[in-house]
């Protein structure tokens, strides 16, 4: 009967036609590996990657509890995607058609998508060669793409993308001189006040055995490569942490297996043709430091190194050190001066650790001889894995302390009160971009919750399907919308979402959306 039908079809028309191949391509959420997450929260939309169709489905909320989806092609062979720090833009790096067979084959590209209420492609940069890694500047001025899997790959070739420019002019290729390593981590500095010139931003490239300084004011100029010191046992040290101080143009480098800290002072040029010079200095801090940061006390700039149960303050110019006993072996330090705006002329830092059940406030505005009195410990009963900032202006003086287990703390830096929050499963936290609440969820579970920073009142919610992510976005009505995604990794395949009013979340009013992967199939 089927053959007869086809024969008749041929009689009726020249052919029966087909359908776009996208219909026959199942949706599979990105695994979170290889630089691709299943979904990204943006300011006015949630971007759900659809790698099998080489596109992103953007979910936005034009009105309360409404959800709108639109799909944007990201290019063939998507390899990396990142949301900008301000969540306004999604960056997508694709390899294009490889190998290229015709001039019209799609080229490798870096695509920028505006993640506002009406998502759209804002810019595209065409690359000459396929790259695999993407790094973004927190200030959205630069992007770096590098790495690849061609027949020959220069591991130290970076393509710097100047995001303030468009077209080919925005791209500059740079090969870093190497002593055998390849790029591991990147740090974009704020403008450093280098003597003898205007403040300039640097890109610090951390490699296996050295670090490279690229002057972003003139990226075509030669980069400066600084070899790392050896470990104390004579072996090779690897780079563990880089911190900098913008006002003094100082950089400090912590390496593994060494009691020394490498201090780099950017100074005025010493020879013709240079824009700046680098003065290195190796400072022994008396033990292997767990963390570094620059702080200011009443006497000026100091580098704090957390060494065992001591905080060692290093004066960068003279390399003199001063040690102060801490109440615990803290392994993390975070400056909180801007949040507290203290009356004194020194910084305040929050000390924490993954192996201690205390936190401490380290106030550096006191007299230099009374440092032991400047550390104010609080026993919170759990260790702290990570300190999460709260954006916005209303609760910027709050921090979220994420613990290695199923708890998190909301810490009010002004009152120094901490509110412990216990969860009943593994924990993922999503701070709302407006900085007024945090969402807690466990991927694969039905339950999720919102904690409002004003009241610290948790609202527990049980979705009707398993939740993979929760995002808090701006809606068209000027309100906030919470989107709990159901990406079908457990039952069925597809993109679904429970949509709630983020300011007054309740599953009694939530709306359920699904089949979102079926829109715009071509």
């Amino acid at each position: 009967m089927n053959k007869l039908a086809w024969l008749m079809c041929g009689v009726v028309t020249v052919g029966c036609g087909g359908r776009p191949s996208g219909w026959d391509t199942p949706y599979t959420p990105a695994s979170g590996q290889n630089g691709l997450s299943a979904a990204y929260g943006l300011t006015g939309s949630v971007a759900v990657l659809d790698p099998s169709l080489g596109r992103v489905t953007l979910l936005s909320s034009p009105a309360q509890l409404k959800l709108e989806s639109r799909s944007i092609g990201l290019g063939k062979n998507l390899v990396a995607a990142r949301a900008s720090d301000d969540r306004k833009t999604l960056f997508a790096l694709s390899r294009g058609v490889q190998p290229q067979r015709t001039p019209s084959d799609e080229r490798p590209q870096l695509l920028l998508i505006d993640g506002g209420l009406t998502p759209k492609v804002s810019r595209a940069y065409t690359l000459t060669e396929p790259m695999a890694q993407l790094v973004l500047d927190p200030q959205n001025e630069w992007a770096v793409v590098y790495g690849g899997d061609g027949v020959v790959v220069n591991l130290n070739e970076l393509v710097l993308v100047n995001l303030r420019q468009t077209g080919e002019d925005a791209l500059s290729s740079k090969t870093l001189l190497s002593f055998g390593g390849s790029p591991r981590r990147f740090t974009f500095t704020t403008p450093l006040s280098v003597p003898g010139g205007d403040p300039r931003r640097f890109l610090i490239v951390e490699r296996d055995s050295d670090l490279v300084l690229i002057d972003l004011a003139s990226p075509s100029r030669d980069a400066v490569t600084i070899p790392l010191p050896s470990a104390d046992n004579g072996g090779t040290a690897s780079l563990a942490q880089v911190v900098y101080d913008a006002a003094s143009a100082s950089i400090a480098v912590r390496v593994t297996g060494s009691t020394s800290v490498l201090l780099l002072q950017l100074a005025a040029p010493t020879t013709r043709g240079e824009d700046y010079s680098v003065v290195p200095n190796l400072v022994d801090v008396g033990g292997q430091p767990a963390a570094l940061d620059f702080v200011h006390n009443s006497q000026g700039l100091r580098l704090v190194a957390l060494v065992g149960s001591n905080a060692v303050l290093v004066e960068p110019e003279t390399a003199t050190t001063q040690s102060v006993q801490m109440p615990a072996a803290f392994t993390g330090i975070r400056r909180i001066t801007a949040e507290l705006e203290p009356a004194g002329d020194g910084d305040v830092a929050l000390l924490y650790g993954a192996n201690v059940s205390k936190i401490a406030y380290f106030n550096l505005s006191g007299a230099p001889g009374a440092l032991y009195r400047s550390i104010e410990p609080y026993d919170i009963g759990v260790s702290v894995k990570e300190v999460i900032d709260v954006p916005g202006e209303k609760f910027f003086d709050h921090k979220i302390l994420q613990t290695p287990n199923q708890q998190f703390y909301v810490l009010d830096l002004h009152t120094r009160e901490s509110a412990p929050m216990k969860t009943n499963g593994a924990l993922s936290l999503e701070v709302a971009p407006d900085g007024e609440r945090v969402w807690a969820y466990s991927s694969g579970q039905f339950g999720f919750a919102s904690v409002d920073f004003a009241s610290l009142h948790p609202v527990s919610l049980i979705a009707e399907r398993q939740v993979s992510n929760v995002f808090d976005i701006e809606s068209g009505s000027g309100q906030r919308t919470a989107i709990a995604l159901h990406l079908g990794a457990w039952e069925g395949t597809g993109i679904g979402a429970t949509v709630l009013d983020a300011l007054s979340p309740s599953t009694a009013y939530a709306r359920f959306y699904s089949g979102l992967e079926l829109g715009g199939v071509k």
């Binding site: 039908a5 219909w23 079908g488 009013y509 079926l518």
Partner: protein, 232 residues
């Protein structure tokens, strides 16, 4: 069925040639061959180029079982006018991005059919039939774990022309002797678009489910129908 179809096509072609050559050279009375009542069973294949149909099929064809009934109302020499009606039933299923879909279409057409006998055992016909269709589209929603439906009536018009050849019957028998006809027709079937907003049945699936909006579906397109009919 395939053998019968090929045989019908050959016979139809041969008959048309004969008719052109000898249309006036038969002594056989025409009237007994003009069917008074006719019931048919056949296959209708439509080409549905609408993008909405892609959800339910990986090709554009829609095959339907076709049942027909016709009765002659008026005769004058080689011409006759009949009332004809068809019920076409078809089902098509597919899988889109991992979700099963299904489309069930009932189409009812009824209206006048004009016939012209070239030869006693061969007549040509045209008909223009108002159409009423009911479509039931469904989607197995794996995330919501529920079946979603879009059920709609739509209206349109079928216009086609064809030929019928008497493959069995008394050569000069009485008017009410049973005769077997092979019929073939082609034309265009128009139907209005219907929405493909698929929702679960009341009380099914998650609370307050928003419909899955897959656009619209139009089943309009050219079609071809072959059938076998019993007439007397």
């Amino acid at each position: 069925m395939r053998r019968s179809f090929y045989r019908s096509l050959v016979l139809l072609g041969a008959s048309l040639s004969l008719a052109l050559a000898a249309s006036s050279a038969h002594a056989e009375p025409l009237a007994p061959h003009q069917p008074h009542l006719q019931a048919s069973l056949g296959l209708r294949v439509s080409k549905v180029p609408d993008a909405g149909y892609d959800v339910f099929s990986n090709s554009d064809e829609l095959a339907q079982l076709s049942l027909g009934l016709a009765g002659t109302l008026w005769r004058h020499q080689r011409f006759s006018l009949a009332a004809a009606g068809f019920w076409d039933y078809g089902q098509k299923g597919s899988n889109v991005r991992g979700s099963n879909t299904d489309l069930v279409v009932h189409r009812l057409t009824i209206g006048p059919e004009a016939r012209y006998h070239l030869l006693p055992p061969l007549y040509l016909f045209v008909h223009v039939l108002p159409a009423f269709a009911h479509s039931s589209a469904s989607l197995e929603d794996g995330v919501a774990q529920v079946s979603r439906y879009a059920r709609h009536w739509s209206y349109g018009l079928d216009a086609s022309a064809g030929a019928a050849f008497e493959v069995y019957g008394a050569r000069s028998g009485e008017s009410f002797r049973t005769r077997l006809w092979a019929m073939a027709e082609g034309g265009y079937g128009y139907l209005g678009s219907t929405s493909l907003e698929l929702s679960p049945d009341a009380g099914q699936g998650p609370q307050r489910p928003a419909p899955v909006d897959l656009g619209s579906l139009s089943l309009a397109g050219p079609y071809f129908r072959v059938s076998a009919a019993v007439g007397f």
